[in-house]
Symmetry: C2
Subunit: 164 residues, 2 copies
């Protein structure tokens, strides 16, 4: 690997937002708490008993996720002891990441197609595998992508299919 390539890789790494994402979601339990929230858990004690996580760690993770704007903390109106944790839009935007990770685990770790499975609420058919797609919808595999400066990139056509 020559120096020019190495240098461009270093720049690439510097401006990558993967570290930023991991700063928010990279600690132990963060994704499992998120999964819980997707599954309609919203109280401290629910998370604690469902996940079996230590209480101090749970408290720490919840405040962190709130600080990052992934969860929203709201005191319950009727019972002022209770506090509800709810996903924000930012939190919901992690759905593709979580589903992709789960699908990978199903395919390559547990091996089971798992029961229950996620289905489309409208027709109850199983959802697709999450994949990386080109602008016109072709699935992209390992050799099909490269890095380009945004100046070099072809102008992206308005996505015909809805964006996130």
């Amino acid at each position: 690997m020559d120096d020019a390539v190495r240098q461009s890789l270093r720049e690439l790494v510097a401006s990558c937002s993967l570290p930023a994402a991991l700063e928010a979601m990279g600690e132990r339990w963060s994704f499992l708490i998120l999964r819980g929230a997707f599954n309609k858990l919203c109280h401290f004690e629910e998370f604690q008993s469902e996940l079996g996580i230590a209480r101090n760690i749970l408290a720490n993770r919840l405040t962190r996720l709130v600080d990052h704007g992934i969860l929203e903390r709201r005191p319950h109106a009727d019972d002022r002891r209770k506090i509800e944790y709810r996903l924000t839009d930012k939190g919901y935007a992690l759905l593709p990441t979580m589903v992709a990770l789960r699908q990978w685990g199903e395919r390559w770790e547990t091996g089971v197609p798992a029961n229950p499975i996620l289905v489309d609420a409208r027709d109850r058919k199983p959802i697709r595998q999450v994949q990386v797609l080109s602008h016109d919808g072709r699935p992209l595999g390992k050799g099909d992508m490269l890095w380009a400066l945004s100046e070099e990139a072809e102008a992206a056509p308005a996505n015909t299919e809805a964006a996130e």
Copy 2:
């Protein structure tokens, strides 16, 4: 939340493969090492100097990723000091997860569309946002999915667009 719902959630959690995926990829540095491998890093010293990770931790992560079949360790033929770490198919299968996480970070953490960007190698147009799609390609958002026993689910039609 009544007991029936709670119970079904507990079963759901038990058979979810997210914990299995996190067991393989949930530790600090794992995703960054994976990103490095996607970017064609393959030697110990390359990972170390690009990521700035401590040597003992790197050694530990590499052997873990090899043990999980995500990376493959192969001694170099010409120079027997060198060892190459390469992604296996199982490792490449994490591409959607990684891209989804990076895109989320771009959109919600760093805010920058980042430079360089990932483009389709064929036409150099930016790739799409990774999203969860129904069997027929509709994007699915927060309320559009539910859990179903595989017996209950409608038979999935053969995916017209290629699977992973």
